[in-house]
Amino acid sequence: MKALRNYIDKIKPQFQKGGKFEKLESTFEAFESFLFVPDKVTFKGSHIRDSFDMKRAMIVVVVAVLPALLFGMWNTGFQHFKSLGETVGFWDQFLYGFLKVLPIIIVSYVVGLGIEFAFAQARGHEVNEGYLVTGMLIPLIVPPDIPLWMLTIAIVFAVVIGKEVFGGTGMNILNPALTARAFLFFAYPQDMSGDKVWIADKADAFSGATPLGDALVGNFENFQSASDMFFGFIPGSVGETSTIAILIGAVILLFTGIASWRVMLSVFVGGYLMGLIFNWAGANEYMNIPPYYHLIMGGFAFGAVFMATDPVTAAQTKKGMYIYGILIGMIAVLIRVVNPAYPEGMMLAILLMNVFAPLIDHYVIEANIKRRLKRIKVKA
């Protein structure tokens, strides 16, 4: 460790102003602070500075995603061998899924970080850590058989158009991971429909319907049991199937205080409420399924825990968070049930509310100011 520190200190001057590699300063800085705690201190006054910086926050999110990722890898293998009618051991299933998912993760990080570094160099600011999480989330919300070139285009689009044009991490309006998925969804709908999903290589490119697809065509006999959906033994995108694995991640996020429980809770409440409303209306079979089914089907739980809570794109005020979350839940279920063109509404619901989050905040703050102004007048 000491040797590494000494080496970095030795080559440091070359990357600073006037050095040989002056242009690569931000790249160097990124690697240095990745290896060691940044040595930045405040200059004035006596601010206490916790070393809880963006890097640590991002790493916690990555850790929280791991259960869903590991389960997703296993489930990919499980569904594959199940459809072939073979029975193999746990590790074989896991290994198959691991080899299937790993290239997606590698492509995601190489492409995304490459763009981040390039932009940081060109603009002369530090490399932001925001992509660490985005790069982990993207593999979880795409089907396991996504062609890698499609993924590359989607990531370039999401990082450049979704994030860098607004000024990089922290300035983006839309969640970058969901932007990538939305791009794929609209650009290559035949690969991303949400109602069918790839399961196995052999057997003539067999693809099975997800529960969402079954529900949409009224195929309820095919429905997996609620416990299967809850534990995640169903076809779907890599990370979205297992609600229990997602909930483990949710506990980690809430315990460390990185995600807002207000958003998370109100998304679930909103989805459940909308389910109840549809039960009451009851116009067709899809409307009559128990409301909790909506919460464990498809990407609802994943979106609620990892996507809607993104602190950059969510509402910032406390009241705003409730409104934001409940609307996401309601709109997601609404799209699922009412619009047959979009079997999965979670992505579109979150992106839509991302756009509205600043507006919600604005009105919450305005209302607060008005309320407090009234107080002054009464006294005077």
């Binding site: 285009i153 044009v165 650009a187 035949q190």
Partner: protein, 219 residues
């Protein structure tokens, strides 16, 4: 006395040249003034309709500019907008009829958007801002310049949207002839949708402003 006669300005004096070339870049109607965006989104899914659209706007804008410039001293200020609209509408009807007669397929593709040239903000904008206060020749050049500035953006957007969205250039199947489909390449359906036109225009604006810093607004 005869020596004091003002020398006639040459037809393509530097000032007049500016009228044509400025709208191509620094005063581009789409990327700088952000006018006429709606038609830029609607007709740029393929090159052919985009080209015909640009041509129609060129004819209408140049003719309307000249006519308004000729009438500029007789139009009462209070009803000038109505007069401008009548002239533009008549010209658009002419263009529409010509298209229907000689290029029926394209005219069908463009459908309502030929008629909507009437409401194209670029045309009204140029009539108000330029033709009302200038002589016919400069007004003509200004019309040509702005229509070209509008047209080349339309063609660039349409080129990328057609190439990536349908895999063709002017209906010639480029991607198929390159054999890319055999490698698993697929057309990008997002490119056909109108939002992507907005994003492509946005990218052009981005490139233009990072090359020409004077266009960047002060904070």
């Amino acid at each position: 006395m005869s020596e004091e006669v003002k020398q006639r300005e040459p037809l393509f004096s530097p000032k007049n040249k500016k009228l044509i070339f400025n709208p191509l870049s620094r005063e581009n109607p789409i990327t700088v003034q952000v006018l006429g965006i709606c038609s830029a989104l609607a007709v740029t899914a393929k090159l052919e309709p985009a080209f015909v659209m640009s041509l129609s706007v060129l004819v209408v804008l140049a003719a309307a500019n000249v006519i308004i410039s000729l009438l500029r001293n007789t139009i009462p200020t209070r009803i000038r907008i109505i007069v401008q609209l009548v002239i533009i509408a008549s010209l658009v009807i002419l263009v529409d009829q010509v298209l229907k007669a000689f290029a029926y397929d394209v005219s069908k593709q463009l459908s309502v958007f030929v008629g909507l040239i009437i409401t194209n903000c670029i045309i009204m904008g140029r009539l108000e801002a330029f033709a009302m206060g200038n002589k016919p020749w400069p007004a003509f050049l200004d019309g040509i310049g702005n229509a070209l500035g509008y047209g080349w953006i339309l063609l660039v957007v349409a080129f990328f949207r057609e190439l990536l969205g349908s895999g063709t250039i002017w209906n010639y199947p480029v991607m198929e002839n390159l054999g890319l489909y055999d490698f698993g390449y697929k057309n990008n359906g997002f490119m056909i949708l109108p939002p992507m036109a907005l994003i492509v225009v946005g990218i052009i604006i981005w490139i233009q402003r990072s090359r020409d810093k004077e266009l960047v607004e002060e904070k």
